[in-house]
Amino acid sequence: MTAPNGNSSNLTRRLKLLMSWEGFLLAVLCLVFAINASMSQAFFTVANQINLFNLSIEKIIVALIMTFIIINGEIDLSVASVMGLSACTFGWLYHAGMSAGLAIVVVMGVGFLCGAVNGFFITRLGIPSLVVTLSTLIGYRGLARVLVEDRGINQFPKWFDALGQQPLLGPFPLSLIIFFALFIVLGFVLHFSGFGRRVYVIGNNAEAATYSGVDVAEIKMKLFIASSTISALAGLLFAARVGAIRGDVAQGFELDIITIVLLGGVSIFGGSGSLLGTLLSILIVLSLRNGMDLANITGHIQTGLIGLLLILSVLIPNAKIYASRFLQAKPS
């Protein structure tokens, strides 16, 4: 199996990978599909699937870029606050008289800035991303509240609302199209591009990367800017979909997003994971929520069950490792 170009053994490696986490997720997904389908015949209809995605579309869009961040060995807790800030900034600007189109551009700029601030503290000052994004989680949310205070803003241009709520291409609304487009683009970037390779390398061993000439700071900065910019986009999509904004838009979303990514097999320590895993995890979580809706399980309970799933997702592989270690004495 040792081809000179390593190709066939590459394929075997790929297959082996599929046998691991992603394979496990696939099995779980089929199980969830089966249960849901048995509960309701409407489950597999296009309308239901689209609706299923729509309800959490902003979260799953951000989960795509969060995958990069965690693989890189970092974390971004501020994504939901950036979503909130972007939605509130849009509302505030539009209400203050700016055209919606220009407001969108400004909001994206704000997202960019938020990421740059995160990136600055993390790469230039060397403060751990957990602490920086915890502070900006609070700070950016605070800025959103400064703008909007305790009011709600809900008069947006018709075309804006339409983009958020009506189908754009066939039955698919804009947000879903953006999600799939982003999935394909980011998937290529993460798994087939030089940038993606560097993301993995840094998450694996940042020192070795530095010693090999990789500009670690630049890549981290880019990732955090990307994370916040995409979060800003997600915030706009949320505002369009819901048609209204308040100071607490997207509050608490970061936990769902991180749960999805970790469930997808991305290691919290960095260096491993895949966008495919995140996609499978998204499908599982969305279908689970849908199924639980069908079974009349309330929202809070759903969140609890997802939390349980998260813990099990690490617990079970750990148990496997212990079992195998127990069965064979390994030299260290």
Partner: protein, 354 residues
């Protein structure tokens, strides 16, 4: 050889610095707000700090061991709810038993966290993200979507927040504040004078070395989470007393505040250093800022969160830069090798897996 002297450690500097900042903040607002520095301020801050500082202390215990507990908010809420229900059905129950019930209840949650982190080897950020959701949803289930109302609670509980331990010239020192103060002193004593307490620091400073040195790392981490849960349970009691009306969203967001207070108070997020006194002062600073911003006419009260976020960032930046400077000085004095510097840089940035 140098005899013992007051250690100018980053730790002590930090506490000193916090006190200075606190005084500055108080003086600043005194110039801005009419009739600011009076007993009302003291009473208001001490009452709300009683709750926040308590969970900040619990969070500190966990962070010292290089972990994090994001479930405290849910535990506070659940504990408040549980005790409220308990009292509604048994209004004549002994107050002490109620407190103990709260502590015990919270400990159970803490123990589950501890089991998963210490013995099942699941990283604490994952465990407590999961249990945060799990405990909250259990609360919703348990409550049947109803809420606790003050009317159903016994009089002694409702009047507890206003009860004074001692009153000095109009400065009422509330019982609730004293409870937290006592807990802080006990925790400080345990962490500095009990061998088991020192193990918290050892485990967070270098878990591998701790294991190697014969410290029972698993038991220490388990204990940290159990205590965090216990303190969250106690906080639930104080919360119930203070607010009376408890809904299923009680305690939401407390975990972030507790981490923020600890971090502002100089507790190193990577474990191994920090003090509960610092966390206590951090909680006070955060609360003073909160209260004062509301009353400051220059900017709207909605700036609270933004300022808090900036504050945390600033204090961590100051911390990091300061301790780096101090270490560079001492390393230069001892002419360390690049391996040393590399190891230090390591310890700053690559201790992952909270």
């Amino acid at each position: 050889m140098i005899r013992s002297r007051l250690k100018f450690s980053p730790q002590n500097l930090r506490i000193f610095g916090l006190i200075v900042v606190l005084i500055c903040v108080l003086l600043f607002f005194a110039t801005q707000i009419h009739n600011y520095l009076n007993k009302d301020l003291f009473i208001r801050v001490s009452t709300s700090v009683a709750i926040m500082a308590l969970i900040a202390i619990g969070q500190t215990l966990v962070i010292l061991t290089r972990n994090i507990d994001l479930s405290v908010g849910s535990v506070v809420g659940f504990s408040a709810f549980f005790l409220g229900g308990l009292l509604a059905r048994n209004p004549n129950i002994n107050p002490l038993l109620v407190v103990l019930a709260g502590v015990g209840f919270g400990s159970l949650f803490g123990m589950l966290n501890g089991l998963l982190v210490a013995y099942a080897n699941v990283p604490s950020i994952i465990v407590t993200l999961g249990t945060m959701a799990l405990y909250r949803s259990s609360l919703v289930q348990f409550s049947g979507a109803k809420s606790i109302s003050t009317a159903s609670l016994p009089a002694w509980l409702v009047s507890l927040p206003r009860m004074n331990m001692i009153s000095i010239g109009g400065y009422d020192v509330r019982v609730t504040f004293v409870i937290t103060l006592v807990v802080m002193l006990l925790a400080h004593f345990a962490l500095t004078r009990l061998r088991a307490g020192r193990h918290f620091y050892a485990v967070g400073s270098n878990p591998a070395a701790a294991r190697f040195a014969g410290i029972n790392v698993n038991r220490t981490v388990f204990l940290a989470f159990t205590l965090s849960g216990a303190l969250a349970g106690l906080t639930g009691f104080l919360f119930l007393a203070r607010f009376g009306n408890i809904t299923v969203v009680a305690g939401l967001g407390f975990e972030l505040k507790s981490v923020a207070s600890a971090v502002v108070g100089g507790v190193n997020i990577f474990g191994g250093s920090g003090s509960v006194i610092g966390a206590f002062l951090g909680a006070i600073l955060v609360d003073v800022l909160d209260t004062s911003l509301v009353r400051w006419e220059v900017i709207s009260e909605f700036w609270r969160e933004a300022v808090l976020g900036a504050l945390i960032l600033l204090s961590v930046t100051a911390d990091t830069l300061l301790s780096r400077k101090l270490l560079a000085i001492s390393l230069k004095k001892t002419k360390s090798t690049p391996k040393q510097m590399a190891a230090f840089e390591d310890s700053l940035t690559t201790r992952k897996g909270l």
